[in-house]
C-alpha cells in the first residue's frame, strides 16, 4: 500500500461509516442470496451475513469493538423493532385472544423444555457448571438471556453467542421440521420458533407467513419473562 491509501485506510477503519456500510452491504447481499434460493432454510441471511462480516474483519485484522462502533447504529434499531411488534400483534388481536389458552400452556411447557433439554445434553458431555449456566437461557432474546446468566454467575458473552447460534439453528430447522410433522397451524408454527429461537426465529417466521411472525413475536416476549422467572429454580434442580 502507498502512504496515501494506507492513511485513507487508517482513517476509514476507525470511523463508524465504514463498518456501517459493511454491515448493510453484507445483509443486502445475503438477503439477495436468500431470495435467489427462494428463502431456502439453509440460506439463512443472518448466517451468511455474519460469516461474511467475520471474514472481512479477519482479513483486515479489525477487532470486534472497532467494528461495533459502526455497527451499533444498526444494533440500536433492535429495540424499536421489538416495540413495533405491537403493530402486527394488534392487527391479529382477534386470533391472538382466541388462542390464549394454547399459548399459555405451550409457553410454560416449551420454556421448561428449552432449559432442561439443553442443560441435560451438555451435562452428558461433562461441561463445567459455568458453561451450563451460560447455556441454560439460550432460547431467550439476547438482552434478557445475558442478564439472567450474569445474575447466576455465568459468562454473558458466551450466552450471547449461544443465543445467536440457537436462533440460527432454529430458523434453519423450523420449516422442514414443521412440514415433515404436517403442522398446518401458522399460529403454532410461529409460536414454537419464537419460543425456541427468539428474534432470529421471529425474523424467519415473518419471511414465511405474517401470522406465524406475529405469534413468534408474542412467544419471544413471553418466553423472556417466563425464563427469567423459572430458570433459577429449574437450574437449581438440575445442577444439585
Amino acid at each position: 500500500m502507498t502512504d496515501q491509501t494506507f492513511s485513507l485506510w487508517v482513517y476509514l477503519s476507525q470511523t463508524p461509516l465504514l463498518w456501517l456500510v459493511v454491515t448493510l452491504s453484507a445483509y443486502a447481499i445475503a438477503d439477495r442470496i436468500s431470495q435467489a434460493f427462494k428463502r431456502h432454510p439453509l440460506c439463512n441471511p443472518v448466517l451468511i451475513a455474519v460469516v461474511s462480516v467475520a471474514l472481512v474483519l479477519w482479513v483486515t485484522s479489525t477487532s470486534y469493538p472497532v467494528y461495533f462502533e459502526g455497527a451499533k447504529f444498526v444494533h440500536f434499531l433492535l429495540g424499536p423493532a421489538t416495540v413495533a411488534l405491537a403493530i402486527p400483534l394488534y392487527e391479529n388481536r382477534r386470533i391472538v385472544l382466541r388462542s390464549i389458552i394454547p399459548m399459555m400452556v405451550a409457553l410454560v411447557v416449551g420454556s421448561v423444555t428449552a432449559i432442561v433439554s439443553a442443560v441435560a445434553v451438555a451435562q452428558m458431555f461433562g461441561m463445567p457448571n459455568s458453561v451450563l449456566i451460560s447455556l441454560a437461557p439460550k432460547s431467550v432474546t439476547a438482552p434478557v438471556g445475558m442478564g439472567i446468566t450474569e445474575a447466576l454467575g455465568g459468562d454473558p458473552s458466551l450466552t450471547a453467542i449461544l443465543i445467536m447460534l440457537t436462533g440460527v439453528a432454529g430458523s434453519i430447522m423450523v420449516t422442514p421440521l414443521m412440514n415433515s410433522l404436517r403442522m398446518k397451524d401458522w399460529r403454532a408454527r410461529g409460536f414454537a420458533v419464537g419460543l425456541a429461537s427468539h428474534g432470529i426465529g421471529t425474523a424467519r417466521a415473518f419471511q414465511v407467513n405474517s401470522l406465524a411472525g406475529t405469534f413468534a413475536g408474542i412467544a419471544m416476549g413471553l418466553n423472556a419473562l417466563v425464563t427469567a422467572l423459572l430458570l433459577p429454580f429449574v437450574l437449581k434442580l438440575l445442577l444439585d
Binding site: A86, A106, S117, K184, A196
Partner: protein, 133 residues
C-alpha cells in the same frame, strides 16, 4: 415517519424507565411493545373523529420488521471474540443446541396444537402450507 419513529422510541423509553425503575426482569422494549399496544387501541377510538391520526405508524413499524434479520448481525458477529470457548466445548455445545432446539420446537408446536384442539380454538384448516417456503 418522524412522528411514528418518535412514538415508537418514546414507547421504548417508557418501557426502559418502568422496567428499570421497578427492577423487573423484563427488557424495556418488550414493555414498550405493550405501551404501543395500548396506544393502538386508543388510536382506533380517536380515529372515528380524526381519520388521519397515526396513519403513518403501520408503515414505519412494518418497515422495521421487514428487515429484522439485519438488526441481529452486529451482535452476532461478536462470535469471533469467543472462538476459544467454542473450540474447547464445541462438539458438546453444538449437540446440546441442536438437540435442544429441535426438541423445544417439537414439544411447543405439539402442545400448542393439542391444547388448541382440546380448547376448541383450532385453526388448522386456515391457510395452506407450501411444500417449501
Amino acid at each position: 415517519m418522524i412522528v411514528s419513529l418518535t412514538l415508537i422510541l418514546f414507547c421504548q423509553l417508557l418501557g426502559e424507565v418502568v422496567a428499570r425503575g421497578f427492577g423487573w426482569p423484563l427488557p424495556g422494549p418488550v414493555l414498550g411493545m405493550l405501551f404501543l399496544l395500548v396506544f393502538l387501541t386508543l388510536r382506533d377510538s380517536i380515529r372515528t373523529k380524526v381519520p388521519e391520526f397515526g396513519r403513518a405508524l403501520d408503515g414505519t413499524g412494518k418497515g422495521l420488521l421487514a428487515h429484522l434479520s439485519l438488526l441481529f448481525i452486529p451482535a452476532s458477529v461478536g462470535v469471533i471474540q469467543r472462538l476459544d470457548v467454542l473450540a474447547e466445548h464445541g462438539l458438546g455445545l453444538a449437540v446440546a443446541l441442536i438437540v435442544s432446539t429441535l426438541v423445544t420446537l417439537v414439544v411447543t408446536v405439539v402442545t400448542f396444537v393439542v391444547v388448541s384442539r382440546l380448547s376448541g380454538s383450532s385453526m388448522e384448516d386456515n391457510g395452506e402450507v407450501p411444500s417449501r417456503d
